[in-house]
């Protein structure tokens, strides 16, 4: 645990040498007869997480930062497709909440043919660099009489045209829910951005930040991420990515206008990865630590 910096109470310390530790696939809601055809099209195929030894075609088993296995989220090779891993908790208090991880991100290696890319190979930079879309860390929280909100951070590596952006982003609208669909507010297609479907509803924060890609699609380097939120004020606090610390106090957290039942003290976290092209994108989590100040 010395590679982390937890708050006073540790809720979860998940190392993936022993099962998936409660990180599971996200699925949209369905009707009372268990008919999965009633799951929203954009929320029915987020793919099951895998325990990966981080093995590749060129070097074999890479291994992880902590041991044998990482939690791997893998998209389909379909533009816009998203894979998720979600962890479901509740709150025994209010206050500072911290999620930390060491992660790596990659586009799947292309072998034997060239795939479209906005980055050319020059021996240092590699086309796979621009074949990775985005990863997101987010919450689903509900408290105080059904008030529901999501703290969301996204690292957008490329825009939807595959051009490098390297930007941190946040949505200015709450995530469309199955209830919104039932009430006729949304009907989103397969592979829509489930966090906030309209690209115009995303804003950037901080400066562009280049992460460690390391020249080919099969070298994985573990990045440290720490994100603090505050459930007593329903706000963002601070984000750290390796040696860069970003103040998030001015990044808004839009609540739903309507109240939600059955979610009292909800405290969910999810990681997701989204491809912007027809190439699988991977997010590897070496381990995850969630700690709180209550």
């Amino acid at each position: 645990m010395a590679k982390y910096n937890p708050l006073s109470r540790v809720l979860c310390f998940d190392t993936f040498d022993t099962t998936t530790h409660g990180w599971t696939e996200l699925l949209g809601n369905y009707d009372g007869s268990g008919n999965l055809d009633t799951v929203d099209d954009h929320m029915r195929d987020f793919r099951p997480p895998q325990l990966s030894s981080c093995s590749f075609f060129d070097v074999g088993t890479h291994g992880t930062m902590s041991g044998d296995y990482a939690l791997k989220l893998a998209t389909r090779p379909y533009p816009g497709h998203t894979a998720t891993g979600i962890r479901r908790l509740t709150m025994a208090g209010r206050g500072r909440v911290r999620i930390e991880t060491h992660f790596a991100f990659k586009a799947e290696a292309t072998v034997g043919h060239e795939a479209p890319s906005s980055v050319g190979w020059d021996g240092n930079r590699h086309p796979s660099e621009s074949q990775f879309g985005a990863f997101t860390v987010a919450t689903d929280i509900c408290s105080d009489g059904g008030l529901r909100y999501h703290n969301v951070i996204r690292y957008q590596n490329t825009n939807l045209d595959g051009e490098m952006t390297n930007r941190w982003m946040y949505p200015v609208v709450p995530e469309p829910t199955p209830r919104d669909h039932v009430e006729g507010r949304f009907a989103l297609p397969y592979a829509a951005d489930f966090t906030a479907p309209d690209p115009a509803d995303w804003r950037t924060f901080d400066e562009p930040l280049e992460l460690c890609v390391n020249e080919v699609p099969t070298k994985i380097n573990w990045h440290y991420l720490r994100w603090d939120i505050d459930t007593s004020t329903r706000s963002n606090v601070e984000l750290q990515l390796n040696d860069r610390v970003m103040d998030m106090r001015d990044v808004p957290v839009p609540p739903y206008p309507d109240r939600y039942g059955t979610l009292d003290n909800l405290l969910n976290f999810y990681f997701s990865v989204r491809t912007h092209c027809g190439i699988r994108n991977f997010l590897f989590l070496d381990s995850v630590l969630i700690s709180v100040e209550w």
């Binding site: 022993t18 696939e25 195929d45 793919r47 325990l51 044998d68 296995y69 791997k72 290696a109 072998v111």
Partner: protein, 111 residues
């Protein structure tokens, strides 16, 4: 590391997927599992479908695990065990001309 109890994990590889032509499931990595089992549940089926286990050393290149073929042509649940595989598993499905089915496909690993 827990040594007193075996690990198991179920992945839902396809969920109410309607198929009309040949396909393969997404690559699924099970490096820790000593054994595995596929379940194919045909919620609807009109015509013949044949399934074969495929394995891969890298998630990119695939070959059949064995000569076994598993057929279904009406609603129901079929299953078969998998052993002696490498890290990646998937199912390849051949759909007979004119056949259509709605499938759930599960992969269970046990270590």
């Amino acid at each position: 590391m827990r040594h007193d109890m075996r690990s198991t994990m179920t992945a839902v590889l396809e969920r109410n997927t309607v198929v009309r032509e040949d396909f393969a499931t997404e690559p699924y990595e099970l490096p820790w599992a000593a054994e595995a089992r596929f379940f194919v549940q045909a919620l609807e089926a009109d015509g013949a479908l044949a399934f074969r286990t495929e394995i891969s050393p890298d998630g990119l290149h695939w070959c059949p695990l064995d000569e076994s073929e598993h057929r279904i042509d009406s609603p129901g649940l079929i299953t078969w065990p998998v052993s002696g595989f490498g890290q990646w598993l998937r199912v390849r499905c051949t759909v007979a001309p004119g056949a259509v089915a709605k499938l759930r496909i599960y992969l269970v690993g046990k270590g």
